[in-house]
């Protein structure tokens, strides 16, 4: 087993993903879990952008004399735009579900939110 040689950006992205997942796995507060999910999504976005980055090249906006071969990969950026919006949509949905849940159960502790089981 050798330590994979990855860049700091990849490392940061993976760390965010894992920290987010850690929150989901360990924290008992629903909102905390949702924060974890949100952090995970940020991490994934960062990962995508890092994959599209090309050292020494500039943003893919081809004005002011930037030639096509000087730009970084635009596709991941387009994808991440989509992914961010999807992320906020999910967050909004989860939070409103959490609000409804709190209204009915009076708690946000996952161990007590167990009416549906078996």
């Amino acid at each position: 087993m050798s330590v994979p040689n990855i860049s700091a950006f990849y490392f940061g992205a993976i760390s965010l993903i894992l920290i987010g997942l850690y929150a989901v796995l360990v924290k008992k507060n629903i909102l905390k879990m949702l924060i974890g999910l949100s952090i995970m999504e940020t991490g994934v976005n960062l990962l995508l952008i890092s994959i599209g980055y090309i050292s020494g090249k500039s943003a893919p906006i081809l004005s002011e004399g930037i030639e096509p071969n000087q730009a970084v990969d635009p596709i991941p950026q387009a994808l991440v735009l989509t992914a961010i919006v999807i992320g906020v949509a999910t967050t909004a949905m989860t939070l409103s579900a959490a609000i409804v849940l709190y209204k009915h159960y009076g708690t946000l502790n996952v161990e007590e939110i167990r009416r549906l089981r078996g």
């Binding site: 989901v24 409804v100 009915h104 549906l116 078996g118």
Partner: protein, 495 residues
Amino acid sequence: MNGQYASLLIALPLLGAFFVPLIKGLGKKAIKTYVLIITAIQTGIAAWVFQQVYSTGKPIIVMAGGWRPPIGINLYIGHFAALFVLIVAIASFLMAVFNFKAIDVEPIDKYAMLFLLLMLGATGMIATGDIFNLFVFMEITSITAYALTAYNKTGEAAEASLKYMILGGIGSSFFLIGVALIYGATGTLNMAQIAQLAGNIDPTVAQVGLALIVFGLAVEAELFPLNAWAPDAYQAAPHPITAMFSAFVVKAGLYAMARILYLMSSVGTWHNVLKLLVVMATLTVVVAEFSALRQRNVKRMIAYSSISQVGLIALAFALGTQAGVDAGVFQMINHAIIKALLFLGVGYVAVQLGGADIENFHGLGRKMPVTAFGITVGAMAAVGIPLFNIFWSKLRIILATVEAGYTWAAFLVLAASVVEAVYYFRLIHAIWFEGEGERISESIPLVAIVVALVILVVAIGIYPNYLWSVSQKAGSDIFNVAQYIKNVPLMGVGA
């Protein structure tokens, strides 16, 4: 007509959904009727597409924005997609009829929008030919599903929805990581081109990417042990939505999984992924059947049964043989019919008698004979009794499984089927031979749907030839990747 008009399949539900706020004030009935009309038109378009694809034998490639595939996003409406889009549309149409009885919770306008968008999401997932677009449609489907699961606004509904969201969120995040890896390795997002380039990818990247994508989709496709959200969501969702979940939402996930799996079949570690999936699918069947055994809530029981059947489909897809895929597609169709029938019947009973607990089913044969009959036929078909449709697909799947060398999987699956028989026949006994009751008048449209579905079940059971040939075509659409690549008019970019 130009094949590009198949894009109406996507445009129509969207337009329909966006139009709803404008007619919000017209009242519940108007909105429900509106949904019914939209789904009917969608069914018409889907039928036209189906007819086109099956008469010409060529897939329709919809190129969005007029860009050729690797540049633009394309929809690939091949044999499978044409078939399944039709099923999605029909199932939605039937459930739109059911909406009139089953949905009473406000706000109906939001429900109508979400309903149409759920249909859209599944259609898109099945039709798309681009891996990121698949992600987008998957999110459309699942976010709609989250919202609809919680739609009843009870505590249970919110609980089920939150569980679904958390698991689905993890799944989709990892799916996206997988997409990122595959993109990083190939530089393209088009499925056909990925399939072309799959053999050259660095094996570690390919393996991690494929595993993550399959993981993400398996959450949607309810494979054990990633399916823990499913029974709760099925139980808590409004009844028509449950039927839709089971009839096509899961199927869309399964299909996407199978599609990507076979596209990546030139990846070195592919067979290991298949083996893992076989194990997961078999366990899905076994655990779900056992969980259904002593279930008191009939809706939940049928939800477990649905999960197990989905596991059976996944097993068929994971075999990696043509026979398996054909059988899986066949089972998908049959299962969609059966589960639409069962959830419709059980939902209707729950609406009429106030809950889906087994006690309400005692004497159902006297209270609601037609519905009870429908449930009975559905149950018998699900067990795999001859003269009903599932018999053929189950037989096909078992034969394919043993042929592929997974005799142990066949053993376990069949053992689970014995359990399935037990709980279904307990239900039938409760319906017909226990309890008393007064006759309750049943709604004519719903009765008509139940009878139509029953006739369909029996007709396929007696004469499966047509559907089998259709499933074979659809199956080879998934299995035959070379043909898939050939069908997509790839532009020679980079390759």
